[in-house]
């Protein structure tokens, strides 16, 4: 598995290696060129020195040379070499080191001396300078010595042309260049090793916050979702990531909490009636002789059965909405009639609580929607309003057209709800009473309303204002719940 540390280390090392190699090559090239140029310049100077010692006169050429002046040409070991020719190829002079052998010539011109590598007569690698020149006559030399100016009346036509080759072993130069190569290679290798160590430290330190974050996330589980990742001191690059992760963790924690609450509530809603059923039946069976108790027990069992049936029906309706299994059958619906019909289901309960119904829906308000599902929505909204509305108050149902479609709201007065309850009002099994003591309600009515609204593409909103709780449904005319 590739790691950021590995990638950064490899990338930096390869990059550094390439830079060091290129830098070393350039440095080596510059030094070698400079050294060879100096070497050649020294060789050429030597050749010119010999040239100045060459004179001509009376149709012949001679060299004013002795081994004492330039002892390098007479050494037994690693000597230098020179050879002087006339243009016709006859040898004028050779260094003593050359004996009877010749140095190779390559035909340098008067203006351009030639420098090249060669193998010396003793087998060593060497380098030679070849120049072509006209030796000075004795008169010209005297004039030059007196005036330090060349005489203006010499005629090259009358002068003899000579060729001089001076050769010198290049073992010192090669050894020095070799030392430079080795030094540069060692320095480059050392720098690469140093860089590797530095990269390891720097990359390690640079990636430490990322490693810390990884370790922190590794240790997190469902129990620690409430904790947040530390933002203080985090590198700027990680701040957006940490912020995003903290946001996700908060949402995950909320989901987990809701899931736990859902499980606990579902357990309560199912286990409590089951416990009631079991206790009632077992007690009744334990004393079968008490017939009046049997009658009462059977009546209670029936009531519990009906409540459980309602719970199961609601749960199934929710499950079908979730799975989008229920088909939407659209037809024209007169909203006022449908609302009045839905109210009749709860009107007796409302009367018992002294609650009135105010239906404020225009006669001509027609919707194209699923009649059955909208009726179920209204029934649940009215049942909720009657169950939790203050006794003696009124339930108001208001329908109206809006620029984008229609709005339908059901409101009732309440003394129990607070603003913080609103975000959870459509949650499944949510009840204001955490003890869930009231066996009549399971907290599924508004959850079913929410699911059905989603199925019918209706918007929903709950608000609380001055002790009045209101749920508003909105629909667009262009959708399935369209307005006529």
């Amino acid at each position: 598995m590739s790691s950021l540390r590995g990638r950064l280390t490899a990338g930096l090392l390869i990059g550094t290696g390439v830079l060091l190699a290129a830098g070393g090559w350039v440095l080596d090239h510059v030094l070698s060129t400079r050294l060879k140029r100096d070497y050649d310049a020294a060789l050429l100077t030597r050749a010119k020195t010999l040239a100045t010692l060459t004179e001509q006169g009376s149709g012949r050429v001679w060299l004013q040379y002795t081994d004492e002046v330039m002892p390098d040409f007479g050494l037994r070991r690693h000597p230098d070499y020179f050879e002087l020719w006339l243009a016709n190829g006859s040898v004028v002079e050779r260094s003593r080191s050359l004996g009877q052998r010749d140095l190779p010539r390559s035909g340098a011109s008067l203006e351009h001396p030639r420098l090249r590598d060669l193998t010396l007569p003793d087998g060593r690698a060497g380098r030679c300078a070849e120049i072509t020149f006209h030796p000075l006559s004795e008169q010209e030399e005297d004039h030059l010595r007196d005036t330090e100016q060349p005489s203006g009346h010499s005629s090259s036509a009358n002068q003899l042309r000579t060729i001089l080759v001076v050769a010198h072993g290049r073992e010192e130069l090669d050894a020095f260049l070799g030392t430079i190569h080795l030094t540069l290679s060692l320095v480059a290798f050392g720098l690469l090793l140093g860089t590797a160590a530095l990269v390891k430290i720097v990359v390690g330190a640079g990636l430490a916050p990322l490693n810390d974050l990884g370790r922190r996330l590794e240790t997190m589980d469902a129990e620690s979702l409430g904790e947040t990742l530390e933002l203080a001191g985090a590198p700027a690059e990680l701040v957006p990531m940490i912020r995003h992760l903290n946001g996700l963790l908060a949402r995950l924690q909320e989901s987990f909490s809701r899931e736990r609450a859902f499980s606990a509530n579902l357990a309560h809603e199912l286990r409590t009636p089951l416990a009631e059923l079991r206790a009632i039946t077992e007690v009744a069976l334990k004393w079968p002789e008490d017939s009046s108790a049997w009658q009462a027990s059977l009546a209670e069992i029936r009531t519990i059965g009906l409540q459980m049936e309602t719970l199961v029906v609601n749960l199934l309706a929710l499950a079908r909405c979730d799975a989008r299994q229920s088909t939407v059958h659209t037809s024209e619906v007169v909203l006022r009639e449908l609302a009045a019909s839905a109210w009749s289901g709860v009107s007796s309960t409302a009367r018992e609580k002294g609650m009135a119904f105010r239906l404020e829906v225009p006669e001509g308000l027609l919707l194209v929607t699923d009649r059955e599902k909208l009726a179920l929505i209204l029934s649940n909204l009215f049942a909720n309003a009657v169950a939790y509305g203050s006794p003696g108050s009124a339930v108001r149902c208001l329908g109206e057209t809006t620029p984008s479609g229609f709005a339908l709201s059901v409101s009732n007065s309440t003394a129990d709800l607070v603003e913080d309850d609103l975000p959870r009002i459509f949650d499944r099994f949510w009840r204001k009473d955490a003890a869930r003591s009231d066996g009549q309600h399971a907290g599924l009515g508004l959850a079913l309303v929410a699911a059905l609204c989603e199925r019918l593409d209706l918007g929903k909103a709950a608000r609380l204002q001055e002790g009045c709780f209101e749920i508003t449904l909105t629909g667009a005319a262009t959708h399935s719940s369209s307005l006529h």
Binding site: R271, L274, R278, A279, V283, K286
Partner: protein, 225 residues
Amino acid sequence: MRLLLIEDSPRLRSALQKGLSREGYAVDTAQDGREGLWLATENEYDVIVLDLMLPEIDGLTVLGKLRGQGKDTHVLILSARDLVEDRVEGLTRGADDYLVKPFSFDELLARLQALVRRSYHAKNPHLHIGELEVHTAARRVTYRGRLVPLTPREYSLLEILVLRVGEVVSRRDLWERLYEFDSEAASNVVDVIVYSLRKKLDPQDPQSVVKTRRGLGYLVEEAAP
């Protein structure tokens, strides 16, 4: 034996009260945590049956407050919460037992009997005192090898005296263990039950098992070695 049942479900509360009363327990009931806490603080119970999700004050808070007041009455939690964490939390907060809803009525009875025995440091459900044998699990009494048919109240009274063998138990104490908080039973009802019990145990020698300590109460003496 006197129990306090704190349960918000009216149907479950009613069924359990009915069943437990028929088993001879004196059962006081409370429908929310506040009332339950008040009853538990004001009275002495052998066992408190406590629901967790209660209106007003939740069950764990009730339990915490009772333990905070130094009340060491045995508490059996009866809850729909079945997670291990819930049970662990209930037991670590001071409960003595935990039963998940739905439950068997017989299992509840057995656990209550076990807690009652623990209240009197009696581990064996078969209590032997001389020729008297009390099977607390089956709620059956034999005397001199003969099965004695007792009413639930008679059995409960005998069980109290046997569990507190050698100790004089006052009429007031017996009344409180046999009757509910709001019972209108007359104060001499204990004497009536003792009379009936003695007749059933040994009509020839009524005081052979349950002795009277005039002005103090009743006792069952320890058997001679």
